[in-house]
Amino acid sequence: MNAPVIAIAGIVKHYRLGATDVPALKGIALTVPAGAFVAVRGPSGSGKSTLLNICGLIDDFDAGSYHLDGEDVAGLDETARTLIRRRRIGFVFQSYNLVPVMTVRENIEYPLLLAGLPPAERKRRIDAILDQVGLADLADRRPDLLSGGQRQRVAIARALVKEPALVIADEPTANLDTATAAQVIDLMRELGHRHGTTFLIATHDDRMTARCDQVRALVDGMLQ
């Protein structure tokens, strides 16, 4: 059994809407082992994105504990969380979120620049991941000249190029047609396996959940 990349317990999160206190997560416990491909499914408003945001260290929580790759990350300040994200967490968004003024290569390079890798190492990693996602020929194109599937493959490459411990993917196939979604799922699965990366995915997509090692349902802020 691999050591867990994500180990959270008793996670509680509330939002305030005016004077109303809205509970989003009600004491979540989740353990995700290294290299696992885990999906969280549930209806809109069930708290999937909130859970992923907390696991991705882009949102904080009101109570509970969180160990990322064995490190207690509860109560870290924003700078410390940013530096952890920079090195150890990748993101794949529903709308790809590529930077439109950057080429494919530059979008993929951005996390490596943040990580301070030398140019030769950056080039080696980018060339390798471009080959793996099948976009080597489109490396110098801007995102607006790519299809949705190609953009999502760039986003996957951007998430994986820094070889993170964890990739957070929020509805990664929601904007894709069936055939393209299947390709993207296969790609994520294959690359996750190859890089030994843990994937935590929020999805409605049955094709996606069918390919996951573990599927957890989230209903009204509680994991089933």
């Binding site: 882009i58 949102d59 940013t82 993101f91 968004f93 950057m102 951005y110």
Partner: protein
């Protein structure tokens, strides 16, 4: 380089908006440079005029500038020739002119008027005053001038005097008695100052001394090779001579000082207004860009960019807008300066003066450097102002921005 290339691409995202912002920065820069270039020209012209009028340094009796004389020439210089000889050993000294200050009445036989005169080597005086003393009629006295004088244009008009006219000068001698000498008008001059031209009489030095019955002079005006040499020369001369008072030109150039103060305030205020326009224009452009790119900011933050790195990106964009704007502004200002020079435009006479003066705009490298740095800095600060909040916005909120 990569970061600058990215900043440039971001600027080009909304070309029209960026173009307008660059244009405002360019016009702001050009306005500051043209106004500054005109101010520098004005300061330079006034400085040269003052230095040529008083001399770069004025040497006098220690009490000359401090006390009022009870009798004429009480604080005159008796040893001006020795002082001039000493100063002449310094390579920076181009010429020393002894001067005697005169005042009294000038008469054509029918009409008497008050005059304020200077007894001096008139030809040498005309040479050092250059364009600041204009001969409007007649000629400079030949040789030592004997009893030939130059009259201010307005004084000559009041007395109905022309070159060749005989006049009488009346003044109080050093002994307190009245003395009169007959003189002949050699030429009529204009200093450009109406009040001065109403009273001005130039006599030869010997004539002035004869009128006051003295062998002293009031002051020794020292002219240097360059106006910039004045502070160093003042320090050297004053340090080597404790028996005389040395006064630099700027302590006597009250008009220069007051114009400079006035211009500094006018152009300072203008500069603040222009800087504010540029600042708010760039801040507005980048605020719109920040709002449009809120989601992108959230993405970059999620990928591990620190708020400071997001702000740095916008700083580069602001600075780049400023750099392109200042580059265009400098070219525009230099073009305006050349155009003004080519058109030979004249400015109307300033208050108290009787003559127009040429409009010139200096293309001054330090001014260009300071203004361009200032504008670029201002644009960078505007970018910081526009982006600082968005860079610290909650990542979740930024990613959810529509």
């Amino acid at each position: 380089m990569k970061a600058l290339r990215l900043a440039w691409r971001n600027i080009l995202r909304n070309r029209r908006r960026s173009f307008v912002t660059v244009l405002i920065a360019a016009l702001g820069t050009a306005s500051l440079l043209v106004a500054g270039g005109f101010a520098l020209y004005s300061y330079d012209a006034l400085r040269e005029g003052a230095a040529r009028e008083f001399g770069h340094l004025t040497v006098a009796h220690p009490d000359y500038f401090e006390r009022d004389e009870e009798t004429p020439m009480q604080y005159g210089l008796a040893d001006h020739q020795a002082v001039a000889a000493t100063l002449a050993q310094d390579a920076r000294v181009r010429r020393s002119l002894p001067r005697i200050a005169l005042s009294g009445l000038i008469s054509n036989g029918d009409k008497s008027m008050i005059f304020v005169g200077i007894g001096v080597d008139i030809r040498a005086e005309a040479e050092v005053r250059g364009p600041f003393l204009k001969l409007v009629a007649g000629a400079l006295p030949a040789g030592d001038g004997a009893t030939s004088v130059l009259l201010g244009a307005d004084l000559a008009r009041s007395l109905g005097a022309r070159p060749g006219t005989s006049l009488t000068l009346l003044a109080t001698t050093t002994a307190g008695s009245m003395n009169a000498i007959d003189v002949e008008v050699a030429g009529i001059v204009s200093t450009g100052w109406r009040e001065m031209d109403k009273r001005l009489v130039y006599t030869g030095l010997a004539t002035g001394q004869r009128l006051l019955a003295t062998d002293r002079v009031s002051t020794l005006s020292v002219f240097l090779d360059r106006t910039d040499s004045t502070p160093a020369m003042l320090a050297a001369a004053a340090a080597g001579d404790s028996h005389h008072a040395y006064k630099p030109w700027w302590e006597q150039a009250f008009y220069y000082q007051s114009v400079r103060q006035l211009y500094n305030r006018i152009f300072g205020l203008l500069g603040i207004i222009i800087a504010a326009l540029v600042f708010f224009s760039v801040a507005n452009t980048l605020t719109m860009a920040v709002v449009e790119r809120t989601r992108e900011i959230g993405t970059l933050r999620a990928l591990g960019a620190l708020p400071a790195e997001i702000v740095a990106e916008f700083l580069r964009e602001g600075a780049l807008i400023g750099a392109v704007g200042t580059l265009l502004g400098m070219l525009l200002a230099a073009g305006v300066a050349q155009l003004v020079l080519g058109l030979d435009l004249q400015m109307p006479p300033p208050p108290g003066r009787s003559e127009t003066y040429p409009l010139k705009v200096y293309v001054d490298a330090p001014l260009y450097a300071v203004v361009s740095c200032l504008i670029v800095l201002l644009c960078a600060v505007a970018a910081w102002f526009a982006s600082r909040k968005a860079a610290r916005k909650s990542i979740v909120a930024a990613l959810g921005h529509v």
